[in-house]
Symmetry: C2
Subunit: 200 residues, 2 copies
């Protein structure tokens, strides 16, 4: 049910924010309704007034978290139209990630939701799709700028890059070291470099 007053709107908003924090801190499956309520300064009846059940609250939290992350990604990759710019954005991504090593925001959720409520899981699938789209667009622009052979499939390269990012973040988290992510992206960039059209 949608809130119909400003007060209700604010209550619902506090619930979603608290749910996002809980999901980020302890994971989807460890989200405790009572804990979210306490953090939001809410009570049971409020939550069940706006959400049909725990799964609905989780879905809202997952959707919110994905949106926020995609905003950042869109901003970062939106302006990339050269290999140097790509390298620079990815370097920033790595050094940022090295600071926490806490797993990919989307990947972590997707992983926890493989056997979770389908609507929430679907949000993560869509988020990956959007991310892949950003990468494809960036590589396409790089290709249009002549830094990538026109016989290359930007979509395939983008998917390969996404796999490298996900796998790299994951292994880096598991190992507690930024090396896997760095190596993966360095390798991917070296490969892209090798695909530059020879100017002859």
């Amino acid at each position: 049910m949608r809130p119909k007053t400003r007060r209700g709107q604010a209550s619902r908003e506090r619930l979603v924010e608290a749910a996002v924090a809980s999901v980020v801190d302890h994971g989807v499956k460890q989200l405790r309704v009572d804990e979210v309520l306490a953090a939001a300064g809410s009570s049971k009846s409020q939550m069940y007034h706006y959400f049909s059940d725990r799964d609905a609250l989780i879905e809202a939290a997952v959707a919110r978290r994905c949106e926020e992350f995609l905003d950042l990604l869109g901003q970062a990759f939106g302006g990339v139209s050269s290999l140097d710019a790509l390298r620079s954005v990815l370097a920033g991504f790595v050094s940022d990630y090295a600071g926490h090593l806490s797993g990919c925001p989307v990947g972590t959720l997707a992983s926890e939701l493989t056997a979770g409520p389908e609507p929430a899981r679907q949000r993560t699938v869509e988020a990956f799709g959007a991310w892949e789209g950003y990468l494809t667009a960036a590589l396409q622009r790089i290709q249009d700028a002549g830094e990538l052979g026109s016989d290359r499939d930007a979509g395939e390269l983008a998917l390969g890059l996404l796999v490298g990012l996900e796998g790299g973040m994951f292994l880096s988290q598991v190992r507690g070291s930024d090396r896997p992510l760095r190596v993966a992206l360095d390798t991917a960039l070296a490969y892209l470099d090798s695909l530059r059209p020879t100017l002859d």
Copy 2:
């Protein structure tokens, strides 16, 4: 506590097997002691006779699962000493994985254990280490055979390959399609091909 009779040995073994099945089916966090007991035809007192608590049972299950998977990997990559052999083994890996798309056996566990009991988590870290070792050894043999420039770091390439495998399996699971894994490995192999020493 270790079993001291053949009967006890068998009881403990049934418990571990049932725990592995439960972990594979529903995930580590969803392992229910009562369910494992029922599947093993065991009772509470048996389990708490051989394991200090639920976490200890989980650790045994995780260790067992990793061992079994590593056996397969060791066998598959142990004989690889050419790029063609590597390509063939990886192709088998992909077509096998395409049949279930259920996530990497080790990766799934590692992911669920990021905030889990440390001893169990450590088993997965070690498993990744062993896997990386198999890949490094294979690439080293390929290098020794002259199919890879001697200036290349086999360890880095192996890590890149591992990242591609993990990320590929993960995204393939999320999407329900083998394409991410295929694209990732095809790309990795294309890169390795491009590193062949030029014979001049």
